[in-house]
């Protein structure tokens, strides 16, 4: 009885610790993702590349699609 009660207590502490860890990981994930999203923005890329004089094109890319003929 006493030992199982202690074991339950231990589990509660373990769960609390794991929950804390989950929250930290989640926070780290959101932080990381937020940084990544900002890096992905075209305006960020444009600013970064302006230094080496790479500008966005005025012309759209042309996609060449090969139609297979039978």
């Amino acid at each position: 009885m006493i030992s199982s009660s202690h074991s339950a207590d231990r589990k509660v502490h373990e769960i609390a610790r794991l929950n804390e860890e989950v929250r930290e990981f989640r926070s780290a994930f959101i932080d990381g993702r937020s940084v990544l999203m900002k890096l992905k923005w075209e305006s960020t890329i444009e600013r970064e590349l302006a230094e080496i004089e790479v500008m966005p094109s005025d012309e759209p890319p042309i996609k060449i699609k090969v139609k297979t003929q039978n």
Binding site: H13, S27, I30, S34, W41, S57, P60, P61, K63, Q69
Partner: protein, 654 residues
């Protein structure tokens, strides 16, 4: 002695049996609690799955300056100040002084940082002194769950929030606010818990236990890329023209999905940020962009045609002593209605409407009603502005002898930018008016619970014939040399739209000394088969820099149109020619033969293109230096020589 013993026994009995229940209850209350288990609020996503709003833990870091020993404090207070200084980019001395002062004052709760994200929190934990933890270093960490917008300032106002104050009142802004109760919030659970050590509570099983139901995720229609372009293009123009505030909305023509919405206002320090949702909330006199609605009514009633000639009368018309003026002094002479629209002649349009409806202004108003211009859009977002249309039948003080004429060029009427855009979008969409939409889907654990389709407000706001005429007019505003939007013309891609330069606050006494305008541009692109419609409204640009709609707002529109154009690949389909080119095959075979044959002995690469030669030699483990460009003319090591790893070969090219 006996009496004393009797008293003790009496008290025991009293506590045990008389007040017993009360004390037992008290004990239970202290150790057993019905604990709320908060539900996790759902996330708000963009159309492509980028996070727009989510709940994350944030950390407040404090220090108990009394806890560290004198030795440790002296040893680490300087490095700690340096770390703080480096983190905040401020001088270190300031922190050193503050920390020392806190130590003298025995401050056990000295604030170092508030609302840190996880990454920064970890940085703090590794600072000198703080890394020693709570008992030796005095570190105090408090964690709260906060709603954050990972995109930062971008579209913040439209993404919004739901905030509760201590009295339980709720402020709901944007999408997060509008869909909070219905989808995002979820329901809290609760269960009985018993107190155990270390501030933890152990669950006790109980029949009334309720599991929390997490909130659902809301997927919006916002396109992060278009939003990014729109936000930055608007910001650039606001800064350039030192304007008070502005907004831009991009809408998908067919479905009404809002792809981007940006609202920026200037604060007292001169910086722009998302302050109010102008696009949804601010009704204002649209000015010239309303000429489209006026002409739509007149063309639909067949009282004029685009070829009807109107006299702009030297650029000034007078109604009951009030004057309508053209921006071009002296007017445009006698011109067609189409040209009046393209050059945005106030007198021309006013004359056309005046001549057609002066005897029956009700008919004009009914025409506007028939195109749903008096209706709000019934958006889920809170705070939509109401349209204002004067009506001679309604005695509310708005109608006057000049109301009809003033309406014709966008005064006395009020619309929000989103309402104006919805009408332009209907013209782009061949007459079908669709409701602007902000959400696409509601999901739980990635499974769609509810999805939202396009909503039609009016299947056909005006006849196909009228729509075609209006589309032509909007296209010519940009394509014709005399069009007010011609400065925006690009030979690469097509656009259609109308400029607007409306006076605002002209009812104020100081207007003549300090003229204020609302510059706007509303339209769609491409001109044929439009994909997106867009409105740009900029309030009170600095007149010294410029104020015409085409100059102030037009460039934002063009930038978005151009970006979307350059981002959409042109597909060029070619038929697969399954034939081998003999010279290519020969050169490939030769290359392959050398690559197979030579592993440790120098091959002859004379006559090879530099690209092939370098690949060959580097694959063999050599280092290649090239001089010049073109094909290989000579090699520094002759053919057949045994080579060593990392040996440098010099190739001369011609």
């Amino acid at each position: 002695m006996f009496i004393l013993a009797l008293l003790v026994v009496y008290k025991l009995v009293d506590i045990q049996f008389v007040d017993g229940n009360q004390y037992r209850e008290l004990a239970e209350k202290r150790t057993i609690q019905n604990v709320d288990i908060p539900a996790n609020r759902g996330n708000v996503y963009s159309a492509d799955g980028s996070l727009l709003a989510t709940s994350v833990p944030k950390y407040d870091v404090r220090i108990d300056v009394v806890t560290p020993s004198a030795k440790n404090f002296e040893k680490y207070v300087k490095p700690l100040s340096d770390s703080l200084a480096k983190f905040y980019g401020k001088p270190s001395g300031q922190y050193l002084q503050a920390l020392r002062k806190a130590r003298v004052n025995k401050n056990r709760y000295f604030l170092l940082a508030r609302n840190l994200g996880y990454i920064n929190y970890i940085k703090f934990r590794n600072f000198p002194l703080l890394e020693m933890g709570a008992f030796r270093g005095g570190l105090i960490v408090e964690q709260n769950t906060k709603r954050v917008h990972p995109m930062g300032a971008i579209a913040q106002r439209s993404i919004g929030y739901e905030r509760f104050d201590e009295n339980g009142n709720v402020t709901r802004a944007g999408i997060d606010g509008a869909f909070g109760e219905k989808y995002l919030r979820g329901t809290n659970g609760h269960r009985l818990k018993q107190k155990i050590g270390k501030g933890q509570w152990k669950p006790i099983s109980d029949a009334n236990e309720v599991e929390p139901q997490d909130g659902y995720d809301v997927y919006t229609t916002i396109d992060v890329n278009i939003q990014d372009i729109a936000h930055h293009a608007l910001l650039e123009q606001l800064e350039k023209y030192r304007a008070d505030h502005g907004c831009v909305v991009v809408m998908d023509v067919k479905t009404g999905e809002i792809k981007a919405i940006s609202n920026l206002g200037r604060n007292s320090k001169g910086y722009y940020s998302e302050r109010l949702n102008y696009a949804v909330g601010e009704s204002h006199e649209p000015g010239s962009t309303f000429k489209l609605m006026a002409l739509a009514v007149a063309l639909e009633d067949k009282v004029i045609d685009t070829s009807t000639i109107v006299d702009t009368e030297k650029g000034v018309l007078s109604f009951y002593g009030n004057k309508v003026r053209d921006s071009k002094r002296g007017g445009y002479g006698k011109i067609s209605v189409a040209k009046a629209f393209e050059v945005s002649s106030n007198t021309g349009i006013v004359k056309a409407i005046h001549n057609s409806y002066k005897d029956n202004p009700k008919k004009f108003v009914d025409g506007l009603y028939a195109m749903n211009l008096q209706d709000t859009l019934s958006l889920p977002l809170i705070g939509e502005g109401k349209p204002v249309i004067p009506d001679p039948r309604i005695k509310n003080g708005i109608w006057s002898g000049i109301a009809l004429e003033w309406m014709a060029y966008g005064y006395n009427v009020k619309l929000t930018p989103l309402q104006a855009l919805t009408f332009y979008n209907a013209i782009a969409n061949n007459g079908e008016m669709v409701r602007p939409r902000f959400i696409k889907e509601v999901k739980e654990f990635g499974n769609t619970l509810e999805s939202f389709d396009k909503e039609v407000i009016n299947e056909q706001v005006c006849s196909k014939e009228t729509v075609l005429k209006l589309q032509k007019l909007l296209k010519d505003v940009i394509e014709k040399k005399h069009g007010t939007g011609n400065r925006l013309y690009s030979k690469n891609f097509s656009m259609a739209g109308k400029t607007g330069t409306a006076q605002t606050e002209y009812w104020m006494a100081d207007w003549n000394e300090n003229k204020r305008y609302i510059s706007s541009f509303t339209g769609y692109f491409p001109a044929e088969n439009p994909k997106y419609s867009c409105i740009v409204v900029i309030h009170k640009p600095d007149r010294k820099v410029g104020y015409y709609g085409a100059d102030v707002s037009g460039p934002v529109f063009k930038k978005i149109a151009q970006k979307i154009y350059t981002d959409t690949p042109i597909v060029d389909a070619v038929v697969n020619l399954d034939e081998n080119h003999s010279t290519i095959m020969k050169s490939y075979d030769a290359y392959y033969a050398i690559a197979r044959k030579y592993k440790t002995i120098m091959p002859d690469v004379n006559g090879y293109p530099a690209m092939d030669a370098i690949t060959l030699l580097e694959n063999m483990g050599m280092k290649v230096k090239v001089i010049g460009r073109g094909k290989v003319k000579s090699q520094s090591v002759t053919k057949g020589t045994k080579i060593k790893k990392n040996q440098t070969i010099v190739l001369k090219l011609s």
